[in-house]
């Protein structure tokens, strides 16, 4: 099997991401999919650093650094300005971390989504505030170590997809750099839709997850395979489609090998692991129910 991804390269090497950064690869693939006519809106996050210090930039498209909580509102504004200038063919891409999305940026994002403002919002979710030293966010999974949850986080991960789907936006999808063909297809699909489009991409941060850099892609692949992070799309907040279903089997062994490879889960007891496995399985069933629900809307 061979991936057919666009040859066009819209990113430079020399950027400041850690070795094996899934977030860096995510941007590379996204810009391949969206092409040169893209403007990136970037709230404070690792990518603020990755892109390089002034006067340098790692991307070949305009990228606007903005405040931590403002990805949604600044994107709305830039899109409005482009409309006024008559520049209709430019895609606005909000690119935010999980902290900037699940936590501090949620208001701005929700407001923009409610207005169905016309931009793509990608949350590259590395499951903590990595830029500032691995503090927990509401995207950090239950049981994970972080510098502010030195034993383990006691609250479950917030389900951002459910929140965004509840806005009935035209397109919401999960995506993974471990499935580049699917990742690129989703960004291309999003590009062709008008309104607020949301993509939730789980990416490995070897530094924060405390794992070796070479397994970065393997881990997010395992997340998909094990049902921890299933790939799916939701249209208009209603129609669910599961992607790569033949890849997914939420089983004990896969979940354990995902957890076992990461230092941030080193403190888990057997009981904790069992709880995680059970939670993942029930979340998976909940997702399957939503997909079943498609039948109701068709009638």
């Amino acid at each position: 099997m061979k991936f057919t991804i666009p040859q066009e390269e819209n990113m430079h090497p020399g950027h400041l991401a850690c070795p094996g950064c899934g977030g860096a690869l995510a941007m590379r693939l996204a810009l391949k999919a969206l092409g040169k006519k893209t403007m990136v809106v970037l709230p404070a996050c690792c990518w603020s650093i990755i892109n390089g210090p002034f006067p340098y930039s790692a991307v070949k498209v305009p990228l606007f650094h903005t405040a931590f909580e403002t990805a949604g509102s600044v994107s709305s504004g830039i899109k409005a300005a482009l409309d006024i200038l008559g520049k209709k063919d430019i895609t606005v891409l909000a690119w935010a971390g999980d902290g900037g999305t699940f936590d501090i940026g949620l208001q701005a994002l929700s407001a923009a989504a409610e207005r169905n403002d016309d931009f793509i919002y990608v949350c590259y979710d590395n499951e903590a505030y990595m830029n500032t030293g691995i503090q927990r966010s509401s995207a950090t999974p239950w049981g994970a170590w972080s510098s502010t949850t030195p034993a383990a986080k006691e609250e479950p991960k917030k389900n951002i997809m459910d929140i965004m789907v509840a806005h009935r936006i035209p397109y919401a999808a999960t995506a993974s750099v471990s499935y580049p063909d699917d990742f690129i297809r989703k960004l291309k699909r999003a590009k062709d839709i008008k309104g607020t489009r949301f993509i939730h991409a789980l990416v490995c941060c070897p530094t924060g997850w405390k794992c070796s850099s070479e397994i970065s892609i393997k881990l997010t692949r395992l997340a998909v395979q094990s049902g921890i992070f299933p790939l799916y799309e939701v249209e208009n907040g209603l129609k669910y489609t599961l992607n790569k279903p033949q890849q997914i089997s939420p089983d004990n062994k896969l979940i354990r090998s995902y957890l076992g490879a990461q230092g941030r889960f080193a403190n888990l007891s057997e009981k904790d692991t069992k709880k995680i496995v059970a939670d993942i399985k029930s979340e998976w069933l909940r997702l399957l129910n939503k997909i079943e629900g498609n039948i109701c809307i068709k009638q």
């Binding site: 991936f3 950027h15 390089g52 002034f54 006067p55 340098y56 930039s57 790692a58 580049p180 070479e214």
Partner: protein, 547 residues
């Protein structure tokens, strides 16, 4: 100085991050390397299997594939039909679903070579050296071919009138059609190899004379002396040794056999004799001392004999032949049980006292093994030094069944190739290594996330009904679409096949593709190792940077 209103509203980057050579961060460096695929490693003639399959996958043409294959083995059409294919036994794909059908791919390439008349481009012959080869079986012919590839002409002395050894004196045509054998042999001979057939060394031509005349000799006489059955009644004319029976059939002669034929043994000769008897319209019964599991015959052939509903009597050994009115009426056997494993790992049969029973037969074909007949050679030339094909006499080499005892076609071809190599070293007084000794790729080295499960494509096969009464070939091989499909299953273990994964997954754009080749950009590569792990075939290694 600029006025405030002349400046842009905020700072704008004007340069790229290319200034920042992140290669200096690296502790480990990824390197492209090709490793040894286990299939190649297992082939006794050293075929580059992965590579010719890749040539087909990249659609670089059948001629290129044939040329590469025949660099190592001049008998692809023969081996594609009768080889035991140890390559398939070690194919990494077996651990995933089913091994690649290598021999059927090989057969396709071999047949195309014959049909299209593909030719080798060989160097000019250097007549300075005189080399004799005794025996025109696969070992002798392979040696002649590999010598020819190195620019040496050899002279083959063959006792029989036909060339090919057991390929044309033993293996029946329903497995190996004679026109195929003779066509592949003719290609070798035409490349300027001298032949003296009907010339047995020892009878027609003295060994000492040969040695004086040629100085360099390769002995490849096979193992043709039948072991004696050694039971009462064994001298009866209706006891026909398997090799003799098969030899007559191969020569197109009719052999007189009765209605019920007892075949004693469990090797290829036994099964070939049984299946030939069946095709002559008579009833074969195979009597074997051990069980099916211990049968030394090639697995496919056991399978086919069973499909053809050949009767087997396992765990039985012949005791004596019962003759009435000068005719064989039955074979008395004793029941056996399996005891301890011997040093070859096979469990030894032990007779069970008083368990005698009779099998009603009127003809008996013993196929209990063959030995090497070296009676024509003065002294003991065939004392072969360890694993090599050199003997204890200078300038004399030996290989194939003559050294190993009855083995396989491809082992003989491999021995001929090795002999050619050593003869070259001997004549030029150079010492060249025989082959690589690196560890082949194992299944655990692969990243199977990129492989889908696909069933092995079987070779076309004659239906059972139309194969019982004729000597027509059972297997029919592939058509082009099947060839393509089967080749696409190959993992290409250890060897880059340009799947692009390293290029796709690098977060640092440090994999460059130039003219169909991949290169690391060490100016920027941070040594994360992602490419190493995501290469499905372990064609990238990680080495520590020197400090």
């Amino acid at each position: 100085m600029k006025q405030v209103f002349q400046l842009p509203p905020w700072a704008i980057s004007t340069e790229s991050t290319l200034y920042n050579k992140t290669g200096s961060w690296r502790n480990y460096r990824p390197v492209y390397r090709n490793r040894i695929p286990p299939c190649n490693n297992a082939c006794p003639s050293g075929e580059k299997i992965q590579q010719y399959i890749d040539i087909l996958n990249q659609e670089e043409g059948l001629y290129k594939a044939w040329k590469l294959l025949t660099q190592d083995n001049p008998f692809p059409a023969v081996c594609g039909r009768v080889c035991f294919h140890p390559c398939e036994n070690s194919c990494n794909r077996s651990d995933y679903d089913e091994p690649i059908n290598i021999h059927t791919i090989e057969r396709f390439i071999g047949d195309i070579g014959l049909n299209e008349g593909f030719k080798w481009r060989l160097p000019r012959v250097n007549k300075k050296y005189k080399i004799a080869i005794i025996g025109a079986g696969p070992a002798g012919l392979s040696c002649a071919y590999h010598l020819r590839r190195r620019g040496y002409q050899s002279t083959i002395f063959e006792a029989d009138n036909k060339l090919g050894g057991l390929l044309s004196q033993g293996i029946p045509s329903y497995r190996l059609p004679q026109d195929i054998v003779q066509a592949e042999i003719a290609r070798i001979i035409k490349s300027d190899v001298k032949i003296h057939s009907n010339t047995a060394i020892g009878n027609e031509y003295d060994f000492d004379k040969l040695l004086k005349e040629y100085k360099t000799v390769f002995i490849a006489i096979g193992a043709h002396k039948e072991k004696k059955l050694g039971i009462p009644g064994a001298e009866h004319p209706s006891v026909i040794p398997a090799l003799e029976f098969l030899y007559q059939l191969c020569a197109g002669k009719r052999v007189k056999i009765g209605q019920r034929v007892g075949i004693i043994g469990g090797g290829n000769s036994a099964l070939d004799a049984a299946r030939s008897v069946l095709r002559l319209g008579k009833k074969p019964i195979v009597i074997y001392r051990r069980t099916e599991n211990e049968m030394p015959a090639i697995l496919d052939e056991i399978q086919e004999a069973k499909e053809e509903q050949i009767e087997f009597v396992f765990l039985a050994a012949p005791e004596r032949i019962i003759i009435r009115n000068n005719k064989i009426v039955s074979l008395e056997c004793i029941k056996m049980k399996l005891g301890q494993a011997d040093k070859t790992g096979r469990r030894q049969p032990i007779p069970i006292k008083g368990s005698d029973f009779k099998v009603g037969v009127d003809t008996i074909i013993p196929a209990i093994g063959e030995e090497v007949d070296t009676s024509f050679i003065p002294g003991s030339f065939l004392k072969v030094l360890d694993d090599t094909v050199s003997t204890n006499y200078e300038g004399v080499f030996a290989g194939g069944d003559a050294v190993t005892g009855p083995k396989t076609v491809v082992d003989a071809i491999g021995a001929g190739k090795k002999a050619a190599h050593l003869i070259h070293c001997y004549l030029r007084q150079v010492c060249l290594p025989v082959g690589a000794s690196e560890k082949p790729v194992v299944f655990e080295d692969l990243n199977t996330a990129y492989f889908e499960h696909e069933t092995r494509i079987p070779s076309g096969k004659l239906p059972l009904s139309s194969r019982l009464k004729t000597f027509a070939e059972v297997y029919q091989g592939y058509e082009k679409p099947q060839l393509k499909q089967e080749c696409s299953r190959c993992f290409s273990c250890g060897v880059c096949n340009k799947c692009d994964n390293c290029f796709v997954f690098c977060p640092d754009m440090s994999v460059n593709k130039r003219a169909g080749k991949y290169e690391f950009d060490y100016d920027y590569c941070k040594g994360c190792g992602v490419c190493v792990l995501e290469c499905p075939r372990n064609a990238i290694g990680l080495v520590q940077e020197e400090r």
